[in-house]
């Protein structure tokens, strides 16, 4: 009996010689226990060393292996060939991002956005270590825990058509992280995040398509985070209109 095979249709982009992506078909041995990333590594090692893609942990933790698999944003280390076999698998770079080469996208724009939401704990004054740690109740932890699992895989950006239309949109993961720190009882920096969150390209650009939360491999639920930011921002806005003399940090 001939060895079973599987066909991968892989997007290639090779500047400066080729200025538009093309596709290349690879037919390789089929192993039901392989994930798509294993197949790509097989191609790279055995068939075509020129194929470029990112990966690191191979276990859904590092967030670097995101690609479009048959049009869906996936971590390639977390989807099995058996989920597609015997159909062919279409492998493309993450949607909505500039492509550097083959399956490698440019995420520098995202890293800029990540920085401006200040995803770290901001204190007006740090308490001295002698006073011990900042304690939290289980409820205070619950308020942000679910939103803190982001691995920056950018699947949510690839799934968001609003980001596709308007790439200035700060987007799901960065806003969700802003929300995560706003929700943290140890944080006192929400006032420093408002300008970004309340921007037209911040939460207000979002029209709640909701796909970001569907594709997120870590159940971060960025869609919920953004809508709740809208509620918070609206409340904040009402306070600033009704109480212009009120305390404004």
């Amino acid at each position: 009996m001939p060895e079973p095979t599987i066909t991968l249709n892989v997007s290639r982009y090779r500047p400066p010689d080729e200025r538009v992506p093309t596709s290349q078909v690879y037919t390789i041995p089929y192993r039901p226990d392989w994930v798509v990333l294993d197949a790509l590594n097989y191609i790279k090692d055995q068939v075509d060393g020129s194929l470029s893609f990112r990966w690191s942990c191979r276990m859904g933790v590092c967030g670097s292996c995101g690609m479009m698999i048959n049009g869906e944003a996936k971590l390639t280390c977390s989807v099995f060939l058996r989920d597609y076999h015997p159909r062919e698998i279409l492998v493309e770079p993450l949607e909505n991002f500039p492509v550097i080469k083959d399956l490698v996208i440019d995420m520098s724009d995202f890293l800029d956005k990540l920085k401006i939401v200040k995803p770290w704990i901001i204190r007006e004054t740090e308490k001295p270590t002698s006073e011990g740690e900042y304690l939290q109740t289980p409820e205070e932890m619950d308020a942000y825990m679910g939103f803190s699992a982001c691995i920056n895989c950018l699947l949510c950006y690839a799934a968001c058509p609003i980001f596709g239309v308007e790439t200035d949109f700060i987007g799901p993961a960065a806003l969700a992280l802003g929300y995560r720190y706003n929700q943290d009882s140890r944080d006192e920096g929400s006032n420093m995040r408002w300008n970004v969150i309340n921007d037209h390209h911040g939460t207000w650009q979002c029209t709640f398509v909701g796909e970001c939360s569907v594709v997120c491999p870590k159940d971060v639920d960025p869609a919920a985070a953004i809508q709740r930011l809208k509620v918070d921002t609206a409340k904040h806005w009402i306070r600033s209109v009704l109480l212009p003399w009120g305390k404004r940090a």
Binding site: D112, V165, E166, V196, H200, W204, T207
Partner: protein
Amino acid sequence: MMGEALPNKKSIEPLWWGLFSAGGVVAAFLVPIHIVLLGLAVPLGWISDAPDIFGHWFVKVYLFVFIAMPLYHWAHRFYFTLSDIGLKSFRKPISFLTYGGAMMGTVITAWILLRL
């Protein structure tokens, strides 16, 4: 790109969003039954028309909210949907038509209700 120095306290997007949300609630709870009653049941003769009910001031206040709020809901959604499906470069005129339309609709609704 939006900078950190961009002051946004004056942005009125929270206001539009608030009106959008309020209108969405009103529409969700009340529009279907209104369509069933006045758009289907009465014209099809299942129940008889009762226009006198619209004369009560209480009903007028109700109708004002019932009509005006979902107009803002429409304005906000439609404005964003049109830019989402490729009319981004016409954002300015579209915003006049949508939010402006809702505001005009509010005035017209008040006028129609007051002359009842």
